[in-house]
Symmetry: C2
DNA sequence: AACGATATGGAGTTGCGGTTCCGTTTGTCA
DNA sequence: TGACAAACGGAACCGCAACTCCATATCGTT
């Protein structure tokens, strides 16, 4: 149905410029950033932005999807770390750092739950999360009442901390990690 | 300076109605709720809302301040629980439940850091947090590298979880609590 | 080089929602 | 009960930001 004719050279160039500018601006301002600013930063007219992305939301989604691919890549890299505990620590740190640097990503986690779940599924992130968790549990270094998507749970909960200067996600992650160890298991986890 | 003449009876009644309606609507929709809806729900004209609160933000702040008073009350109640560990658990549970029921409160935590810190200070919440923590540490039931405002840190991190159906703050709180116990202490906390 | 298809810029349109304004109503007090 | 201040309601106003439109420019092909 959708005839896929290749973009003209200038169009492809502009598309990249728009994505790059949008990445920068949405990361800094979150979803309430303005299209005009994106256009200005990309050195392009507003009309051009709308030619490539019919809607502000479409642009936002495209960026968000990219970020999830990045998360999936982090998870994949983490699977290559031999120590299963270190793999989880590394993944969570990278995920949190990505969110801290990108206000929009946190918003996706917190305010577009459906989209997030769907995207995590389709980019393989859910699957990789399961694997990371299972491997660590089999090695006996992760409490056994943890599930794959608890990694998402933790990431999501860290996502709100970037806005407040006195608080650091590193600190919270430290607490959560210590709560993930098998020896720590005391509280019965709900659900 | 500000001559404080008492409000007329109907004005006082309307003020209450507005606050009640606003509480309901902001809790459900967050700060992007509309004044018109608040007015409608309070069975009052928009003008009346603006007579009592010069600005949407002023109304929002009034509500937020109330919520912080409530949090301070929870903390105060918790100080009366004999078991210092249970006191902390209870407080965090109540704080989290309050946030889960009120989208706007989570936004204050996450997006109005300055306001939040200031309000927590003036309503005595910070002080009470310190006391809860110190008491538990003296009893040896809380790891010693925790500070008073880590309770805020934890609350804030839980605040983002309400929007996503598959995740529950109870679960995350369970993990964090297990990470707060003295025996759990392994990771060196940043900052 | 010349033509059609594709893409661009940015002024203008539109809709939304916070805020104002003022003619009317209500409460209070003598 | 009459008079005045206080309070009200809601239509109108206004600014902002997403989105449209089209005259112009650019690309790629013959």
């Amino acid at each position: 149905m959708t005839e896929e004719r290749p973009l003209r050279a200038d169009a492809r160039r502009n598309r990249e410029a728009i994505l790059k500018a949008a990445r920068h601006i949405f990361a800094k301002q979150g979803s309430q950033a303005q299209i005009d600013d994106v256009a200005k930063r990309a050195k392009v007219g507003v009309g051009t932005v709308y030619r490539h992305f019919p809607t502000k939301e479409a642009l936002f989604d495209a960026l968000a999807t990219d970020k999830f691919d990045k998360l999936a890549k982090y998870a994949d890299d983490a699977m290559k770390i031999e120590d299963p505990w270190e793999a989880i620590v590394t993944f969570l740190k990278q995920a949190a750092a990505l969110q801290a640097a990108d206000r929009a990503l946190g918003e996706v986690f917190r305010e577009h739950g459906e989209f997030m779940i769907h995207t995590a599924e389709t980019c393989g992130l859910s699957e990789l999360g399961d694997r990371l968790v299972r491997r660590a549990q089999e090695a006996g270094v992760l409490r056994d009442d943890i599930r794959g998507n608890d990694l998402g749970l933790i990431s999501c909960s860290l996502s709100g901390l970037s806005g407040v200067p006195v608080w650091s996600w590193e600190r919270m992650l430290g607490i959560a990690l210590d709560g993930l160890r098998p020896e720590a298991q005391r509280t019965e986890l709900a659900d």
